[in-house]
Symmetry: C2
Subunit: 157 residues, 2 copies
């Protein structure tokens, strides 16, 4: 028996139990819920806070590394980092060892925002997870990692 009990004779598809559909719907809702915090409180959009959080966690990085760490393509990163620099939240400096590269560093203003925003993000995540049992929370983490790997073969991002 398949995922949701679809039988071979059931030749129509109920979107409600179709994983790619449900995943998209839930992810969109969650994304909007979390994105709202950053937008309302700091005027930051998702690409921007992804970069902030990545810099906060990993330290200074080149746009290329940010791209790899945030699942955003280099064009998106480039535009977002420019907005962050305009807001004085990050510094963009040339890499002395490779003239093509740049390195992004959090400025103190950016660090301050992270200090404020990260706990809120984790709190929202926690609110979501309250809907799940402890076992489901553990399962979800491993499920997402497996689906992440499974789709790796498809394309980068």
């Amino acid at each position: 028996m398949a995922y949701n009990g679809k039988s071979k004779n059931d030749n129509s598809l109920d979107l409600k139990t179709f994983l790619p559909f449900e995943l998209a719907v839930v992810a969109n809702r969650v994304s909007r819920m979390v994105g709202r915090i950053f937008d309302e409180r700091f005027g930051l959009q998702i690409p921007e806070w992804r970069i902030l959080v990545a810099l906060d966690h990993h330290g200074p990085m080149a746009p290329n590394d940010i791209s790899a760490n945030t699942s955003m393509d280099k064009a998106r990163v480039s535009r977002a980092q420019k907005r962050l620099a305009d807001l004085d939240l990050v510094d963009i400096v040339d890499d002395p060892e490779d003239g093509r590269r740049k390195v992004l560093k959090l400025k103190s203003k950016g660090q301050k925002i992270c200090k404020e925003i990260v706990p809120e993000a984790i709190e929202r995540e926690g609110w979501l997870l309250e809907a799940l049992t402890a076992a489901e929370q553990v399962a979800l983490q491993s499920i997402l990692a497996k689906l992440h790997d499974r789709t790796e073969e498809i394309d980068e991002n």
Copy 2:
């Protein structure tokens, strides 16, 4: 201990283990993977095939009902159904009982496409699910339903 072992003293956030981020990344990848079938083979985009599949499963519906069933707003449904009508895949007829309403019905060409496309979609879903254990497959279904409900309070869609 929280979801992924975050401790209270860990004041930075690793995106890789942040549910809203991972969910978005995985959902996007899955969505692209499945969307590619419809796009390459039939030139259909996600809003279009969501409508086709919904009509195929539930029978004729008004745009409003389609909106509710596919998690798309009425504007998006309106544009997509027009494209489907242009492609001769659906009929849009006036509801004789309510002059404001319309009813969408699959035409034979649309039914044919569904017959061809649904098994492929289910096959791709199956390929994804192969990455999970049987227990995880069951858990995932219930987890998504719970997260769906949990985010219901946020807004409609």
